[in-house]
C-alpha cells in the first residue's frame, strides 16, 4: 500500500476486509485532535484504499447507519472519539456483530429489521389521519414509559451487544422489543394486545437475561432491559388475567 506518510503521530488501524471469510488489514492513519472513528475509516477509504466498503450518512448521531465493532465493542463511529477508545494508538474495526457481513465494515441489517416486523413493532393506527390529534398528558405514566424508550435510531448497537441474540438467533432482540414496549404503552394504538402477543412467543421478551449489555452500549442512553422487563410484567399479568 502506498500510504501518504505523515510526520506526526500515527494510529495503527486493523480493518476487517472480506465477508464472513476475510482477514484484518492494517493501515496507518495520522492521529488528529478530536478525530472520530468514522473520520479514521473515511481517511482510509479516501486516501489509502478506495475499495474499502462502509456505511454512514448523517455524521452527527442521528441516522444510526455508522455502527461497527470498535476494539471489540459495538459503537456509533461518528460520535466515538479515537482518543476515548484507542489503546496504545491501536484500533481494530469490524462489522457489527450478530449480523451477516455484506463486505468489509458493512453489515447486512436485514435480519435486524425483520425482527422488528416479527415483534409487531410498528404502530397500528386506530383513527384516520384526518381525525383530531390525540391528547395525552405528558405526565401520563404510559406516556412516560413510552417516552423513555422512544428515541431509538435503529443503529443495531444493542443487537450486536446482546449475547442472547448470539445464542438464540431467532430471539427478537433488544431494539425490536424496546420499540414494542413503546407501542404497548401507546394509547393511540389500535391493538395493544397484538403487540404483547407478538413478543410473548418462543423467542420473545422472556428469553432476555436482563444482563444489560444493550443498555450499557446503546449510544442514545436508552435502557432496552427496562423495556423488556416491562413487557415481561405486562404479558404475565395479561396471561393471568386471561387476556392473552
Amino acid at each position: 500500500m502506498s500510504e501518504p506518510r505523515a510526520n506526526g503521530p500515527e494510529l495503527s488501524v486493523e480493518v476487517w476486509r472480506g465477508r464472513a471469510e476475510g482477514r484484518f488489514q492494517t493501515y496507518r492513519v495520522p492521529l488528529r485532535p478530536s478525530q472520530t472513528v468514522l473520520d479514521v475509516v473515511t481517511y482510509v477509504q479516501r486516501r489509502i484504499d478506495p475499495t474499502l466498503s462502509y456505511r454512514f450518512a448523517c455524521r452527527v448521531g442521528m441516522c444510526g447507519s455508522c455502527a461497527m465493532m470498535v476494539n471489540g465493542a459495538p459503537r456509533w463511529t461518528c460520535r466515538t472519539h479515537v482518543a476515548r477508545v484507542a489503546k496504545d494508538r491501536r484500533l481494530r474495526l469490524a462489522p457489527l456483530r450478530n449480523l451477516p457481513v455484506i463486505k468489509d465494515l458493512a453489515a447486512d441489517m436485514t435480519p435486524f429489521f425483520d425482527k422488528w416486523r416479527e415483534a409487531e413493532a410498528r404502530f397500528l393506527p386506530s383513527s384516520p389521519r384526518a381525525a383530531a390529534t390525540a391528547r395525552i398528558p405528558p405526565a401520563d405514566p404510559e406516556r412516560a414509559a413510552a417516552d423513555a424508550a422512544i428515541e431509538c435510531i435503529g443503529c443495531g448497537v444493542c443487537h450486536a451487544a446482546c449475547d442472547v441474540v448470539a445464542w438464540q438467533p431467532d430471539y427478537l432482540g433488544p431494539a425490536a422489543l424496546n420499540r414494542a414496549w413503546t407501542l404497548v404503552n401507546d394509547a393511540r394504538d389500535a391493538d395493544r394486545r397484538a403487540h404483547l402477543a407478538a413478543v410473548a412467543g418462543d423467542a420473545g421478551c422472556h428469553a432476555c437475561h436482563s444482563h444489560q449489555s444493550c443498555a450499557t452500549f446503546c449510544p442514545k442512553g436508552l435502557n432496552p432491559t427496562a423495556s423488556i422487563a416491562g413487557l415481561k410484567r405486562a404479558s404475565a399479568l395479561a396471561l393471568l388475567a386471561g387476556r392473552l
Binding site: 409487531e120 442472547v164 445464542w167 438464540q168 391493538d191 397484538a194 402477543a197 407478538a198 410473548a200 412467543g201 418462543d202 420473545g204 422472556h206 428469553a207 415481561k232 404479558s235 404475565a236 396471561l239 393471568l240 392473552l244
Partner: protein
C-alpha cells in the same frame, strides 16, 4: 395479523409465558425457603444437635415436613424449567423430547425430595 396472532405464535408463546410465570412464582417461594433452610442448618450445627435430635424435632411437628415439602416442589419446578432454558440456549435440542426430559427431571426431583421429606415426618 390476527390469524397469525391466533395461530402457532401464541400457542407456543403461551407455553413459554406460563413457564416464565411458574419460574418467577417458584423463585418467589424459594427465596425465603432457602434463607430459612440455611439459617436452620447453621443454628442446628452450632447448637451441636445430633441427627437423632434433629429428627426428633422435625417428627414432632407438622410445620417442618410441610415446609420442606413446599421447598421440594418449588425446587423441582424451578430446576426443571431452568435446565430446559439452558439447554435451549446452549444446544439445538428443542421440542417435545426436551419438554419430556424436563418433566422427567422434575418428577425425579419430586420423588427423591419427597422420599427425604418422608423421613423427616
Amino acid at each position: 395479523m390476527d390469524a397469525r396472532v391466533q395461530g402457532g405464535a401464541v400457542v407456543g408463546g403461551r407455553r413459554e409465558l406460563w413457564l416464565f410465570v411458574l419460574q418467577r412464582a417458584s423463585a418467589a417461594l424459594l427465596a425465603p425457603l432457602v434463607l430459612v433452610h440455611l439459617a436452620t442448618m447453621i443454628y442446628a450445627i452450632q447448637g451441636g444437635l445430633s441427627a437423632a435430635e434433629i429428627l426428633a424435632r422435625t417428627r414432632a411437628s407438622v410445620a417442618w415436613p410441610l415446609l420442606y415439602a413446599l421447598f421440594v416442589a418449588a425446587a423441582s419446578v424451578h430446576g426443571a424449567i431452568g435446565l430446559r432454558t439452558i439447554v435451549r440456549e446452549m444446544t439445538p435440542w428443542r421440542g417435545a423430547s426436551l419438554d419430556a426430559a424436563a418433566v422427567a427431571f422434575a418428577l425425579a426431583c419430586l420423588a427423591l425430595g419427597f422420599r427425604a421429606v418422608g423421613a423427616l415426618a
